[in-house]
Symmetry: C2
Subunit: 301 residues, 2 copies
Amino acid sequence: MPPSLRPPQGSAWLGRRLEELPTPALAVAEGTARRNAERMLQRCRALGVRLRPHVKTHKTLVRMFDRLVGVRPTEPGALELARAVAQSAPRRVALVGVYAHCGDTYQCAGVPEVQAVARATAAALGRFVDMLRQAGVPCPEASMGSTPSCSHPVPEMGALTELHPGNYLFYDLQQLQLGSCAPQDVALRVLTRVLGHYPRRNQLLVDCGWAALSLHGQQQGQGPAGCAAVEGHPELRLVGLTQEHGLLEPVSGALDFDRFPVGSMLALIPFHACATAAMHPVYYVHDEGRVVALWHPVRGW
Amino acid sequence: MPPSLRPPQGSAWLGRRLEELPTPALAVAEGTARRNAERMLQRCRALGVRLRPHVKTHKTLVRMFDRLVGVRPTEPGALELARAVAQSAPRRVALVGVYAHCGDTYQCAGVPEVQAVARATAAALGRFVDMLRQAGVPCPEASMGSTPSCSHPVPEMGALTELHPGNYLFYDLQQLQLGSCAPQDVALRVLTRVLGHYPRRNQLLVDCGWAALSLHGQQQGQGPAGCAAVEGHPELRLVGLTQEHGLLEPVSGALDFDRFPVGSMLALIPFHACATAAMHPVYYVHDEGRVVALWHPVRGW
Protein backbone atom coordinates (compact mmCIF):
# COMPACT_ATOMS: atom_id res chain seq x y z
CA MET A 1 0.00 0.00 0.00
CA PRO A 2 1.49 3.39 -0.91
CA PRO A 3 2.06 5.81 1.96
CA SER A 4 -0.39 8.54 2.80
CA LEU A 5 0.42 11.90 1.26
CA ARG A 6 1.00 13.21 4.77
CA PRO A 7 3.28 10.60 6.30
CA PRO A 8 3.67 10.41 10.06
CA GLN A 9 6.78 12.08 11.36
CA GLY A 10 9.73 10.31 12.94
CA SER A 11 8.82 7.85 15.62
CA ALA A 12 5.29 7.45 14.27
CA TRP A 13 6.85 4.88 11.92
CA LEU A 14 7.69 2.62 14.85
CA GLY A 15 5.61 -0.54 14.77
CA ARG A 16 4.65 -0.07 11.12
CA ARG A 17 5.33 -2.63 8.42
CA LEU A 18 8.09 -1.89 5.88
CA GLU A 19 5.40 -2.00 3.17
CA GLU A 20 3.88 1.18 4.67
CA LEU A 21 7.07 3.26 4.59
CA PRO A 22 7.56 6.16 2.21
CA THR A 23 10.10 5.29 -0.46
CA PRO A 24 12.95 5.30 -1.10
CA ALA A 25 13.80 4.09 2.41
CA LEU A 26 16.87 2.48 3.92
CA ALA A 27 15.87 -0.68 5.80
CA VAL A 28 18.23 -2.45 8.23
CA ALA A 29 17.39 -5.99 9.36
CA GLU A 30 18.10 -5.83 13.07
CA GLY A 31 18.53 -9.56 13.58
CA THR A 32 20.95 -9.84 10.67
CA ALA A 33 23.03 -6.85 11.82
CA ARG A 34 23.09 -8.18 15.39
CA ARG A 35 24.20 -11.60 14.16
CA ASN A 36 26.95 -9.98 12.05
CA ALA A 37 28.13 -8.01 15.09
CA GLU A 38 28.13 -11.06 17.35
CA ARG A 39 29.97 -13.16 14.82
CA MET A 40 32.71 -10.54 14.47
CA LEU A 41 33.01 -10.33 18.27
CA GLN A 42 33.36 -14.11 18.42
CA ARG A 43 36.09 -14.06 15.77
CA CYS A 44 37.99 -11.45 17.78
CA ARG A 45 37.60 -13.43 21.00
CA ALA A 46 38.84 -16.57 19.25
CA LEU A 47 41.91 -14.66 18.05
CA GLY A 48 42.46 -13.03 21.43
CA VAL A 49 42.19 -9.48 20.09
CA ARG A 50 39.83 -6.57 20.77
CA LEU A 51 37.22 -5.36 18.29
CA ARG A 52 37.20 -1.65 17.51
CA PRO A 53 34.29 -1.15 15.11
CA HIS A 54 35.06 1.42 12.44
CA VAL A 55 32.16 3.85 12.15
CA LYS A 56 33.50 5.25 8.88
CA THR A 57 32.97 8.88 9.76
CA HIS A 58 35.92 8.77 12.09
CA LYS A 59 39.30 9.59 10.56
CA THR A 60 42.19 7.51 11.75
CA LEU A 61 45.07 9.76 12.75
CA VAL A 62 48.13 7.57 12.33
CA ARG A 63 48.46 5.39 9.28
CA MET A 64 51.86 3.88 8.77
CA PHE A 65 51.88 1.80 5.66
CA ASP A 66 52.82 2.14 2.10
CA ARG A 67 49.49 2.36 0.35
CA LEU A 68 48.26 5.14 2.63
CA VAL A 69 51.39 7.13 3.41
CA GLY A 70 54.71 7.58 1.76
CA VAL A 71 56.97 5.68 4.15
CA ARG A 72 57.25 1.92 3.75
CA PRO A 73 57.56 0.11 7.10
CA THR A 74 60.81 -1.37 5.84
CA GLU A 75 62.36 2.04 5.13
CA PRO A 76 64.48 3.90 7.70
CA GLY A 77 62.04 6.82 7.48
CA ALA A 78 59.32 4.75 9.11
CA LEU A 79 61.31 4.24 12.29
CA GLU A 80 62.30 7.92 12.32
CA LEU A 81 58.67 8.96 11.96
CA ALA A 82 57.53 6.70 14.80
CA ARG A 83 60.39 7.94 17.01
CA ALA A 84 59.49 11.53 16.23
CA VAL A 85 55.84 10.93 17.12
CA ALA A 86 56.77 9.12 20.33
CA GLN A 87 59.57 11.34 21.56
CA SER A 88 59.42 14.84 20.10
CA ALA A 89 56.44 16.21 21.96
CA PRO A 90 55.38 13.50 24.43
CA ARG A 91 52.99 15.79 26.29
CA ARG A 92 51.06 16.69 23.16
CA VAL A 93 51.22 13.57 21.03
CA ALA A 94 51.36 9.93 22.07
CA LEU A 95 52.25 7.04 19.81
CA VAL A 96 49.37 4.70 20.60
CA GLY A 97 50.13 2.14 17.96
CA VAL A 98 50.21 1.25 14.31
CA TYR A 99 47.34 0.56 11.98
CA ALA A 100 46.95 -1.00 8.54
CA HIS A 101 43.68 -0.77 6.68
CA CYS A 102 44.47 -3.84 4.59
CA GLY A 103 42.41 -2.26 1.80
CA ASP A 104 44.24 -4.32 -0.84
CA THR A 105 41.78 -7.06 0.03
CA TYR A 106 39.14 -5.20 -2.00
CA GLN A 107 41.07 -6.05 -5.17
CA CYS A 108 41.11 -9.78 -4.36
CA ALA A 109 39.20 -12.52 -6.18
CA GLY A 110 37.90 -14.69 -3.36
CA VAL A 111 38.76 -15.71 0.17
CA PRO A 112 42.15 -17.42 -0.38
CA GLU A 113 43.54 -14.26 -1.98
CA VAL A 114 42.04 -12.11 0.80
CA GLN A 115 43.69 -14.34 3.39
CA ALA A 116 47.07 -14.17 1.65
CA VAL A 117 46.94 -10.36 1.75
CA ALA A 118 45.80 -10.43 5.39
CA ARG A 119 48.67 -12.77 6.30
CA ALA A 120 51.25 -10.53 4.64
CA THR A 121 49.78 -7.39 6.23
CA ALA A 122 49.68 -8.87 9.74
CA ALA A 123 53.27 -10.07 9.33
CA ALA A 124 54.44 -6.65 8.13
CA LEU A 125 52.72 -4.99 11.09
CA GLY A 126 54.33 -7.47 13.46
CA ARG A 127 57.84 -6.93 12.05
CA PHE A 128 57.47 -3.16 12.32
CA VAL A 129 56.25 -3.31 15.93
CA ASP A 130 59.21 -5.58 16.77
CA MET A 131 61.58 -3.12 15.16
CA LEU A 132 60.09 -0.24 17.16
CA ARG A 133 60.41 -2.13 20.41
CA GLN A 134 64.01 -3.03 19.67
CA ALA A 135 64.65 0.67 19.03
CA GLY A 136 63.13 1.56 22.40
CA VAL A 137 59.94 3.07 21.00
CA PRO A 138 56.92 1.73 22.88
CA CYS A 139 54.09 0.73 20.58
CA PRO A 140 51.32 -0.85 22.63
CA GLU A 141 48.75 -1.31 19.86
CA ALA A 142 48.77 -3.02 16.49
CA SER A 143 45.51 -2.80 14.59
CA MET A 144 44.23 -3.99 11.24
CA GLY A 145 41.04 -3.25 9.40
CA SER A 146 39.09 -4.29 6.31
CA THR A 147 35.91 -6.31 6.47
CA PRO A 148 37.15 -8.89 3.91
CA SER A 149 40.19 -9.85 6.03
CA CYS A 150 38.36 -9.67 9.36
CA SER A 151 35.48 -11.81 8.07
CA HIS A 152 37.89 -14.70 7.42
CA PRO A 153 40.76 -13.97 9.80
CA VAL A 154 44.03 -15.87 9.52
CA PRO A 155 45.81 -17.08 12.70
CA GLU A 156 48.61 -14.52 12.16
CA MET A 157 46.09 -11.78 13.01
CA GLY A 158 46.09 -13.14 16.59
CA ALA A 159 49.42 -11.36 17.06
CA LEU A 160 47.65 -8.00 16.72
CA THR A 161 45.90 -6.23 19.61
CA GLU A 162 42.73 -5.30 17.76
CA LEU A 163 40.70 -5.61 14.57
CA HIS A 164 39.04 -2.57 13.07
CA PRO A 165 36.51 -3.51 10.37
CA GLY A 166 33.53 -1.31 9.53
CA ASN A 167 31.35 -2.67 6.77
CA TYR A 168 30.62 -6.04 8.42
CA LEU A 169 27.61 -4.82 10.38
CA PHE A 170 25.59 -4.45 7.18
CA TYR A 171 27.61 -6.19 4.45
CA ASP A 172 26.62 -5.59 0.79
CA LEU A 173 26.92 -6.87 -2.79
CA GLN A 174 30.62 -6.04 -2.90
CA GLN A 175 31.33 -8.11 0.22
CA LEU A 176 29.20 -10.91 -1.17
CA GLN A 177 31.31 -10.89 -4.36
CA LEU A 178 34.50 -10.91 -2.25
CA GLY A 179 33.24 -13.91 -0.28
CA SER A 180 33.10 -11.97 3.03
CA CYS A 181 29.53 -13.05 3.72
CA ALA A 182 26.62 -15.17 2.56
CA PRO A 183 23.50 -13.67 0.94
CA GLN A 184 21.51 -14.00 4.17
CA ASP A 185 24.11 -11.87 6.02
CA VAL A 186 23.40 -8.68 4.06
CA ALA A 187 21.33 -6.52 6.46
CA LEU A 188 20.73 -3.50 4.21
CA ARG A 189 18.07 -2.82 1.59
CA VAL A 190 16.85 0.24 -0.22
CA LEU A 191 13.07 -0.06 -0.50
CA THR A 192 11.59 1.39 -3.64
CA ARG A 193 8.21 1.44 -5.38
CA VAL A 194 7.24 0.87 -8.99
CA LEU A 195 6.21 4.20 -10.49
CA GLY A 196 5.54 3.21 -14.09
CA HIS A 197 5.29 0.46 -16.68
CA TYR A 198 6.94 0.91 -20.08
CA PRO A 199 5.87 -2.02 -22.22
CA ARG A 200 7.40 -0.60 -25.38
CA ARG A 201 10.78 -0.36 -23.68
CA ASN A 202 10.31 -3.52 -21.59
CA GLN A 203 11.18 -1.53 -18.44
CA LEU A 204 9.91 -0.52 -15.00
CA LEU A 205 10.46 2.92 -13.46
CA VAL A 206 11.12 2.93 -9.69
CA ASP A 207 11.51 5.76 -7.17
CA CYS A 208 15.13 5.03 -6.26
CA GLY A 209 17.86 6.99 -8.03
CA TRP A 210 21.47 7.69 -7.17
CA ALA A 211 20.33 10.09 -4.43
CA ALA A 212 19.17 7.01 -2.47
CA LEU A 213 21.67 4.44 -3.75
CA SER A 214 24.89 6.28 -4.77
CA LEU A 215 26.74 5.40 -7.97
CA HIS A 216 29.06 2.93 -6.26
CA GLY A 217 29.35 -0.28 -8.25
CA GLN A 218 29.03 1.53 -11.56
CA GLN A 219 32.81 1.84 -11.76
CA GLN A 220 33.01 -1.94 -12.21
CA GLY A 221 32.27 -1.38 -15.88
CA GLN A 222 28.77 -2.84 -15.92
CA GLY A 223 26.97 0.50 -15.56
CA PRO A 224 24.05 0.90 -13.15
CA ALA A 225 23.59 -2.89 -13.03
CA GLY A 226 26.62 -2.99 -10.73
CA CYS A 227 25.03 -0.62 -8.20
CA ALA A 228 22.37 -2.97 -6.83
CA ALA A 229 20.62 -6.32 -7.16
CA VAL A 230 16.85 -6.68 -6.87
CA GLU A 231 16.06 -9.01 -3.98
CA GLY A 232 14.17 -12.09 -5.07
CA HIS A 233 14.36 -11.05 -8.72
CA PRO A 234 17.62 -12.20 -10.29
CA GLU A 235 15.82 -11.87 -13.63
CA LEU A 236 15.86 -8.06 -13.25
CA ARG A 237 18.73 -5.63 -13.54
CA LEU A 238 19.12 -1.91 -12.97
CA VAL A 239 19.85 -0.22 -16.28
CA GLY A 240 19.33 3.45 -15.46
CA LEU A 241 19.83 5.78 -12.49
CA THR A 242 18.93 9.47 -12.43
CA GLN A 243 18.85 11.55 -9.28
CA GLU A 244 15.49 10.22 -8.07
CA HIS A 245 14.59 7.40 -10.46
CA GLY A 246 15.81 3.98 -11.47
CA LEU A 247 15.00 1.84 -14.51
CA LEU A 248 14.73 -1.94 -14.28
CA GLU A 249 14.57 -4.37 -17.16
CA PRO A 250 14.79 -8.16 -17.51
CA VAL A 251 18.18 -9.73 -18.08
CA SER A 252 16.54 -11.38 -21.07
CA GLY A 253 13.08 -11.86 -22.51
CA ALA A 254 9.85 -9.96 -21.94
CA LEU A 255 8.97 -8.37 -18.62
CA ASP A 256 5.89 -9.78 -16.89
CA PHE A 257 4.39 -6.46 -15.84
CA ASP A 258 1.55 -8.13 -13.93
CA ARG A 259 4.08 -9.24 -11.32
CA PHE A 260 5.11 -5.62 -10.64
CA PRO A 261 1.99 -3.46 -10.25
CA VAL A 262 2.44 0.30 -10.05
CA GLY A 263 2.85 1.08 -6.33
CA SER A 264 4.30 -2.32 -5.44
CA MET A 265 7.52 -2.42 -3.45
CA LEU A 266 10.90 -3.86 -4.40
CA ALA A 267 14.03 -4.17 -2.25
CA LEU A 268 17.43 -3.28 -3.70
CA ILE A 269 20.62 -4.82 -2.26
CA PRO A 270 23.30 -2.11 -2.61
CA PHE A 271 26.82 -2.65 -3.92
CA HIS A 272 28.48 -0.54 -1.21
CA ALA A 273 26.67 -0.20 2.13
CA CYS A 274 28.91 2.65 3.37
CA ALA A 275 28.06 4.76 0.32
CA THR A 276 24.34 3.94 0.26
CA ALA A 277 23.89 4.51 4.01
CA ALA A 278 25.56 7.93 3.63
CA MET A 279 22.69 9.03 1.37
CA HIS A 280 19.96 8.52 4.00
CA PRO A 281 18.94 10.77 6.93
CA VAL A 282 17.21 7.88 8.69
CA TYR A 283 17.63 4.11 8.79
CA TYR A 284 14.43 2.11 9.34
CA VAL A 285 15.54 -0.77 11.58
CA HIS A 286 13.16 -3.70 11.38
CA ASP A 287 12.55 -7.08 12.91
CA GLU A 288 11.00 -9.46 10.40
CA GLY A 289 9.55 -6.53 8.46
CA ARG A 290 8.21 -4.48 11.39
CA VAL A 291 9.96 -1.18 12.24
CA VAL A 292 11.51 -1.41 15.71
CA ALA A 293 13.88 1.60 15.70
CA LEU A 294 14.92 4.66 13.73
CA TRP A 295 18.63 5.38 13.51
CA HIS A 296 19.73 8.90 12.64
CA PRO A 297 23.33 8.79 11.39
CA VAL A 298 25.86 11.50 12.12
CA ARG A 299 26.85 13.60 9.10
CA GLY A 300 29.42 16.12 8.07
CA TRP A 301 32.92 16.96 9.16
CA MET B 1 45.77 27.93 8.74
CA PRO B 2 44.20 24.65 9.87
CA PRO B 3 41.05 24.93 11.96
CA SER B 4 41.06 24.69 15.72
CA LEU B 5 40.40 21.22 17.09
CA ARG B 6 37.18 22.58 18.57
CA PRO B 7 35.62 24.47 15.71
CA PRO B 8 32.91 27.03 16.35
CA GLN B 9 29.40 25.75 15.77
CA GLY B 10 27.06 26.91 13.06
CA SER B 11 26.73 30.64 12.72
CA ALA B 12 30.10 31.21 14.41
CA TRP B 13 31.57 30.64 10.95
CA LEU B 14 29.88 33.78 9.64
CA GLY B 15 32.42 36.46 8.82
CA ARG B 16 35.31 33.99 8.76
CA ARG B 17 37.60 33.49 5.78
CA LEU B 18 37.25 30.29 3.75
CA GLU B 19 40.84 29.46 4.73
CA GLU B 20 39.68 29.03 8.35
CA LEU B 21 36.90 26.52 7.65
CA PRO B 22 37.14 22.87 8.66
CA THR B 23 37.58 20.66 5.61
CA PRO B 24 36.13 19.18 3.54
CA ALA B 25 33.69 22.05 3.10
CA LEU B 26 31.27 23.02 0.36
CA ALA B 27 31.79 26.64 -0.63
CA VAL B 28 29.29 28.57 -2.75
CA ALA B 29 30.36 31.88 -4.32
CA GLU B 30 27.35 34.09 -3.64
CA GLY B 31 28.09 36.63 -6.36
CA THR B 32 28.55 33.93 -8.98
CA ALA B 33 25.35 32.10 -7.99
CA ARG B 34 23.42 35.36 -7.95
CA ARG B 35 24.75 36.27 -11.40
CA ASN B 36 23.78 32.80 -12.70
CA ALA B 37 20.27 33.24 -11.28
CA GLU B 38 19.87 36.72 -12.76
CA ARG B 39 21.12 35.63 -16.15
CA MET B 40 18.61 32.77 -16.29
CA LEU B 41 15.82 35.16 -15.28
CA GLN B 42 16.87 37.50 -18.07
CA ARG B 43 16.84 34.66 -20.60
CA CYS B 44 13.31 33.73 -19.53
CA ARG B 45 12.15 37.35 -19.74
CA ALA B 46 13.64 37.67 -23.22
CA LEU B 47 11.74 34.52 -24.29
CA GLY B 48 8.55 35.67 -22.59
CA VAL B 49 8.32 32.58 -20.32
CA ARG B 50 8.35 32.08 -16.57
CA LEU B 51 11.28 30.56 -14.67
CA ARG B 52 10.47 27.69 -12.32
CA PRO B 53 13.78 26.77 -10.69
CA HIS B 54 14.12 23.02 -10.16
CA VAL B 55 15.33 22.33 -6.62
CA LYS B 56 16.14 18.70 -7.46
CA THR B 57 14.55 17.19 -4.39
CA HIS B 58 11.12 17.85 -5.77
CA LYS B 59 9.61 15.10 -7.92
CA THR B 60 7.70 16.26 -10.94
CA LEU B 61 4.34 14.53 -11.04
CA VAL B 62 3.43 14.45 -14.69
CA ARG B 63 6.04 13.58 -17.26
CA MET B 64 4.72 12.92 -20.74
CA PHE B 65 7.57 12.08 -23.00
CA ASP B 66 9.23 9.05 -24.37
CA ARG B 67 12.46 8.91 -22.41
CA LEU B 68 10.70 9.17 -19.05
CA VAL B 69 7.42 7.35 -19.58
CA GLY B 70 6.21 4.72 -21.96
CA VAL B 71 3.85 6.75 -24.14
CA ARG B 72 5.30 8.74 -27.02
CA PRO B 73 3.53 12.06 -27.53
CA THR B 74 2.77 10.96 -31.08
CA GLU B 75 1.02 7.76 -29.97
CA PRO B 76 -2.77 7.62 -29.41
CA GLY B 77 -2.11 6.52 -25.81
CA ALA B 78 -0.66 9.94 -24.98
CA LEU B 79 -3.88 11.72 -25.79
CA GLU B 80 -5.88 9.09 -23.91
CA LEU B 81 -3.66 9.49 -20.85
CA ALA B 82 -3.99 13.29 -20.88
CA ARG B 83 -7.74 13.03 -21.33
CA ALA B 84 -7.97 10.55 -18.45
CA VAL B 85 -5.95 12.86 -16.18
CA ALA B 86 -8.04 15.87 -17.15
CA GLN B 87 -11.50 14.35 -17.17
CA SER B 88 -11.71 11.19 -15.06
CA ALA B 89 -11.52 12.72 -11.59
CA PRO B 90 -11.50 16.50 -12.07
CA ARG B 91 -12.00 17.20 -8.36
CA ARG B 92 -8.97 15.16 -7.34
CA VAL B 93 -6.52 15.56 -10.20
CA ALA B 94 -6.00 18.50 -12.53
CA LEU B 95 -4.01 18.43 -15.75
CA VAL B 96 -1.83 21.49 -15.21
CA GLY B 97 0.38 20.98 -18.23
CA VAL B 98 3.08 18.98 -19.90
CA TYR B 99 6.75 18.85 -19.10
CA ALA B 100 9.86 17.57 -20.85
CA HIS B 101 13.16 17.30 -19.02
CA CYS B 102 15.15 17.50 -22.24
CA GLY B 103 17.76 15.32 -20.58
CA ASP B 104 19.09 14.13 -23.94
CA THR B 105 21.10 17.35 -23.96
CA TYR B 106 23.49 15.73 -21.46
CA GLN B 107 24.66 13.37 -24.21
CA CYS B 108 25.45 16.24 -26.58
CA ALA B 109 28.89 17.40 -27.70
CA GLY B 110 28.64 21.18 -27.55
CA VAL B 111 26.09 23.95 -27.83
CA PRO B 112 24.90 23.43 -31.46
CA GLU B 113 23.90 19.83 -30.64
CA VAL B 114 22.24 20.95 -27.39
CA GLN B 115 20.25 23.55 -29.31
CA ALA B 116 19.15 21.02 -31.93
CA VAL B 117 17.80 18.74 -29.18
CA ALA B 118 16.12 21.72 -27.46
CA ARG B 119 14.51 22.79 -30.74
CA ALA B 120 13.13 19.30 -31.37
CA THR B 121 11.87 18.96 -27.79
CA ALA B 122 10.15 22.35 -27.78
CA ALA B 123 8.52 21.52 -31.12
CA ALA B 124 7.32 18.12 -29.87
CA LEU B 125 5.86 19.76 -26.76
CA GLY B 126 4.12 22.37 -28.92
CA ARG B 127 2.61 19.77 -31.25
CA PHE B 128 1.32 17.75 -28.33
CA VAL B 129 -0.27 20.78 -26.63
CA ASP B 130 -1.92 21.72 -29.95
CA MET B 131 -3.29 18.20 -30.28
CA LEU B 132 -4.69 18.34 -26.73
CA ARG B 133 -6.39 21.66 -27.37
CA GLN B 134 -7.89 20.41 -30.60
CA ALA B 135 -9.24 17.42 -28.66
CA GLY B 136 -10.82 19.75 -26.10
CA VAL B 137 -8.35 18.97 -23.29
CA PRO B 138 -7.17 22.20 -21.67
CA CYS B 139 -3.43 22.25 -21.12
CA PRO B 140 -2.44 25.66 -19.78
CA GLU B 141 1.24 24.97 -19.14
CA ALA B 142 4.12 23.68 -21.28
CA SER B 143 7.42 23.42 -19.46
CA MET B 144 10.91 22.30 -20.36
CA GLY B 145 13.95 21.69 -18.22
CA SER B 146 17.66 20.91 -18.47
CA THR B 147 20.35 23.42 -17.70
CA PRO B 148 22.18 22.83 -21.03
CA SER B 149 19.14 23.80 -23.13
CA CYS B 150 18.04 26.65 -20.84
CA SER B 151 21.55 28.12 -20.78
CA HIS B 152 21.46 28.64 -24.57
CA PRO B 153 17.74 28.80 -25.31
CA VAL B 154 16.49 28.62 -28.89
CA PRO B 155 13.66 30.95 -30.04
CA GLU B 156 11.29 27.95 -30.29
CA MET B 157 11.35 27.73 -26.48
CA GLY B 158 9.48 31.05 -26.42
CA ALA B 159 6.33 29.09 -27.31
CA LEU B 160 6.49 27.37 -23.89
CA THR B 161 5.05 28.88 -20.72
CA GLU B 162 8.02 28.18 -18.45
CA LEU B 163 11.58 26.89 -18.21
CA HIS B 164 12.56 24.56 -15.41
CA PRO B 165 16.35 24.17 -15.10
CA GLY B 166 18.05 23.27 -11.82
CA ASN B 167 21.80 22.99 -12.06
CA TYR B 168 22.38 26.51 -13.46
CA LEU B 169 22.59 28.18 -10.05
CA PHE B 170 25.92 26.46 -9.34
CA TYR B 171 27.05 24.93 -12.66
CA ASP B 172 29.91 22.41 -12.60
CA LEU B 173 32.57 20.62 -14.68
CA GLN B 174 29.95 18.68 -16.62
CA GLN B 175 28.14 21.88 -17.63
CA LEU B 176 31.48 23.43 -18.52
CA GLN B 177 32.22 20.47 -20.81
CA LEU B 178 28.75 20.78 -22.37
CA GLY B 179 29.33 24.47 -23.04
CA SER B 180 26.51 25.59 -20.70
CA CYS B 181 28.77 28.04 -18.86
CA ALA B 182 32.20 29.64 -18.71
CA PRO B 183 34.77 28.69 -16.05
CA GLN B 184 34.03 31.84 -14.04
CA ASP B 185 30.33 30.85 -13.79
CA VAL B 186 30.94 27.75 -11.64
CA ALA B 187 29.91 28.80 -8.12
CA LEU B 188 30.71 25.57 -6.26
CA ARG B 189 33.95 24.31 -4.73
CA VAL B 190 34.84 21.56 -2.31
CA LEU B 191 37.59 22.93 -0.08
CA THR B 192 40.14 20.38 1.04
CA ARG B 193 43.47 20.37 2.84
CA VAL B 194 46.72 18.60 2.09
CA LEU B 195 47.19 15.83 4.66
CA GLY B 196 50.39 14.22 3.41
CA HIS B 197 53.30 14.25 0.96
CA TYR B 198 54.33 11.04 -0.79
CA PRO B 199 57.51 11.79 -2.68
CA ARG B 200 58.12 8.16 -3.61
CA ARG B 201 54.69 7.96 -5.22
CA ASN B 202 54.72 11.56 -6.50
CA GLN B 203 51.34 12.15 -4.83
CA LEU B 204 49.51 14.35 -2.33
CA LEU B 205 46.88 13.05 0.11
CA VAL B 206 43.93 15.41 0.73
CA ASP B 207 40.98 15.22 3.12
CA CYS B 208 38.27 15.00 0.46
CA GLY B 209 36.96 11.58 -0.51
CA TRP B 210 33.78 10.44 -2.21
CA ALA B 211 31.83 11.23 0.97
CA ALA B 212 32.39 14.93 0.18
CA LEU B 213 32.54 14.77 -3.63
CA SER B 214 30.47 11.73 -4.79
CA LEU B 215 31.73 9.40 -7.52
CA HIS B 216 29.97 11.30 -10.30
CA GLY B 217 32.27 11.83 -13.27
CA GLN B 218 34.02 8.52 -12.75
CA GLN B 219 31.58 6.84 -15.12
CA GLN B 220 33.12 8.85 -17.96
CA GLY B 221 35.85 6.23 -18.09
CA GLN B 222 38.68 8.35 -16.79
CA GLY B 223 38.42 7.16 -13.18
CA PRO B 224 38.56 9.63 -10.27
CA ALA B 225 40.15 12.26 -12.54
CA GLY B 226 36.69 12.81 -14.00
CA CYS B 227 35.17 13.65 -10.61
CA ALA B 228 36.83 17.03 -10.05
CA ALA B 229 39.38 19.54 -11.29
CA VAL B 230 41.77 21.32 -8.95
CA GLU B 231 41.18 25.05 -9.21
CA GLY B 232 44.25 26.93 -10.38
CA HIS B 233 46.21 23.70 -10.81
CA PRO B 234 45.55 22.16 -14.22
CA GLU B 235 48.83 20.31 -13.73
CA LEU B 236 47.18 18.15 -11.01
CA ARG B 237 44.62 15.37 -11.33
CA LEU B 238 42.64 13.30 -8.89
CA VAL B 239 43.79 9.67 -9.12
CA GLY B 240 42.24 8.13 -6.01
CA LEU B 241 39.10 8.54 -3.91
CA THR B 242 38.31 6.60 -0.75
CA GLN B 243 35.50 7.51 1.63
CA GLU B 244 37.38 10.38 3.28
CA HIS B 245 40.58 10.82 1.28
CA GLY B 246 41.69 11.84 -2.17
CA LEU B 247 45.01 11.36 -3.96
CA LEU B 248 46.40 14.00 -6.32
CA GLU B 249 49.30 13.60 -8.70
CA PRO B 250 50.76 15.65 -11.55
CA VAL B 251 49.49 15.03 -15.07
CA SER B 252 53.16 14.60 -15.95
CA GLY B 253 56.55 15.18 -14.36
CA ALA B 254 57.58 15.53 -10.72
CA LEU B 255 55.36 17.12 -8.11
CA ASP B 256 56.72 20.32 -6.55
CA PHE B 257 55.80 19.50 -2.95
CA ASP B 258 56.97 22.90 -1.68
CA ARG B 259 53.98 24.48 -3.42
CA PHE B 260 51.55 22.30 -1.41
CA PRO B 261 52.55 22.35 2.27
CA VAL B 262 50.74 19.95 4.59
CA GLY B 263 47.72 21.86 5.91
CA SER B 264 47.41 24.09 2.86
CA MET B 265 44.02 24.37 1.17
CA LEU B 266 42.98 23.40 -2.35
CA ALA B 267 39.62 23.95 -4.05
CA LEU B 268 38.07 21.17 -6.11
CA ILE B 269 35.57 21.96 -8.89
CA PRO B 270 33.10 19.06 -8.91
CA PHE B 271 31.87 17.23 -12.00
CA HIS B 272 28.23 17.19 -10.90
CA ALA B 273 27.05 19.92 -8.54
CA CYS B 274 23.74 18.19 -7.72
CA ALA B 275 25.55 15.06 -6.55
CA THR B 276 28.30 16.87 -4.64
CA ALA B 277 25.90 19.26 -2.91
CA ALA B 278 23.83 16.26 -1.77
CA MET B 279 26.80 15.04 0.29
CA HIS B 280 27.02 18.16 2.49
CA PRO B 281 24.92 19.14 5.53
CA VAL B 282 25.91 22.79 5.19
CA TYR B 283 26.93 25.07 2.33
CA TYR B 284 29.35 27.86 3.23
CA VAL B 285 28.19 30.79 1.14
CA HIS B 286 30.93 33.37 0.65
CA ASP B 287 31.49 36.76 -0.85
CA GLU B 288 35.05 37.08 -2.14
CA GLY B 289 36.23 34.44 0.30
CA ARG B 290 34.40 35.66 3.42
CA VAL B 291 31.52 33.54 4.76
CA VAL B 292 28.27 35.52 4.54
CA ALA B 293 25.66 32.78 5.03
CA LEU B 294 25.19 29.13 5.90
CA TRP B 295 22.66 27.18 3.86
CA HIS B 296 21.26 23.96 5.31
CA PRO B 297 19.79 21.88 2.50
CA VAL B 298 16.66 19.76 2.87
CA ARG B 299 17.29 16.00 2.81
CA GLY B 300 15.40 12.78 2.57
CA TRP B 301 12.09 11.75 1.09
